[in-house]
């Protein structure tokens, strides 16, 4: 059943966010520490575990796959509700700080990625819902 997939996804999401909150309060931060990242790792672990035991029929996978495919539309909706007006009102300090940070980070990313190992294999490109686009 398709809802099994969505329910697994929801359970991982909630557990991850809970652990993130717990981690935050343990180290005394008023924020969730990596909740979504932890949820992603949980989901990966569940998928690997269920796959090995053959407990992951296609319909269950579709219950997760749909939401993964909805990702870009959700991001577009997210963009449409940003406080763009406030961002533009921040003035030169905000603009220059942001521009400086983005520029410098882009250069460091380029530096790290160019010095990294070459000849990456391309197995990561297969078998994703993104194939459709």
């Amino acid at each position: 059943m398709i809802i099994y997939g969505t329910a697994i996804l929801a359970a991982c999401h909630l557990l991850g966010v809970y652990i993130g909150d717990l981690l935050g309060s343990l180290i005394g931060v008023k924020a969730n520490v990596g909740g979504v990242g932890i949820a992603m790792m949980l989901l990966i672990a569940v998928r690997v575990y269920l796959h090995k035991r053959g407990l992951m029929p296609d319909t269950t996978e579709a219950g997760v796959g749909f939401w993964a495919a909805m990702y870009i539309p959700v991001v577009v909706a997210m963009a449409a509700q940003q406080n763009v007006v406030a961002a533009l009102k921040g003035g030169p300090v905000a603009l220059i700080s942001a521009l400086g940070a983005v520029t410098l980070c882009a250069c460091v990313i380029a530096l790290i990625n160019r010095t990294g190992p070459k000849n990456q294999d391309s197995t990561w490109q297969v078998g994703t819902v993104a194939d459709e686009t």
Binding site: K30, A80, A94
Partner: protein, 253 residues
């Protein structure tokens, strides 16, 4: 007409699905026929979204862009933190575990640099423009990390509300820049494999910027970048009011 508006207002989330669908359709066609596929359809859709957010903000004077308009409250739900995180977690289904493991260490390094570099840049710019006390420098510097780290740090070290607003604005501009410029800079940054996406996720920070930027570049890289980027805010909130504030204080007195 009133009946249509009623139908839209009574079903906000469904309206949002239909509306975003139309935006995507327009964007994909603009991408194909106007830019001959050179600019990704999702990149155009995100820019349209930001434009609509600006228009909505001007119309209503609210803080949630298009979602402040009555018939578009569903956009707020569809693009809110809950749905965004739910969809991000779902993309983890496509992660190839070996690839992610290989880049684990470099991802952590990128995270640390991604907190430190924007902070130093933000704090230095603040200093050069007359914000010379440690609290102001730290708050603006933290805002350059992400727009959540800014106010959290500011609140912890007792910054005034206009400083916090400035710090949020800094983070927002950064997120918007990452969304818009990532596809254009993708080749320069070498964004073409999971490892590079994880480096990008750590250094570019802000989940919204990273997720939208990667979505507009290559949809398959999203989970790798997001996996790292979601630790960004937590790390920033941890370091901002503590190590970074104390270091700033030690330097400027």
């Amino acid at each position: 007409m009133e009946m249509i508006e009623h139908a839209l207002r009574e079903n906000p989330l469904v309206t949002a699905f239909a509306f975003v669908g139309i935006v995507m359709w327009i964007s994909v066609h603009l991408s194909r026929y106007l830019t001959f596929g050179r600019v990704h359809g999702s990149a155009i859709a995100i820019v349209i979204g930001l434009g609509l957010a600006y228009w909505g903000g001007i119309q209503t004077g609210g803080s949630k862009g298009l979602a402040d308009l009555k018939i578009f409250t569903g956009i707020g739900l569809m693009g809110g933190a809950m749905m965004r995180d739910f969809a991000i977690v779902a993309t983890a289904f496509e992660v190839h575990v070996d690839e992610a493991k290989k880049a684990g260490l470099v991802g952590v390094m990128a995270l640390l640099l991604g907190t430190l570099i924007p902070f130093v840049v933000g704090a230095s710019v603040a200093w050069s423009m007359g914000y010379t006390d440690a609290v102001a420098m730290t708050t603006i510097g933290a805002g350059a990390v992400t727009y959540i780290v800014g106010p959290v740090t500011g609140a912890a070290i007792g910054a005034s509300s206009d400083l916090m607003a400035l710090s949020i604005a800094t983070g927002l501009i950064k997120a918007i820049m990452v969304m818009v410029f990532t596809p254009a800079l993708a080749r320069f940054m070498g964004l073409n494999n999971p490892r590079s996406a994880m480096v990008f996720g750590g250094l570019a920070g802000t989940v919204s910027g990273v997720s939208a930027g990667l979505a507009a570049t290559d949809r398959r890289l999203v989970p790798y970048g997001a996996l790292v980027a979601t630790f960004h805010t937590g790390l920033g909130c941890l370091m901002g009011p503590s190590v970074l504030f104390l270091a700033t204080k030690a330097i400027v007195g």
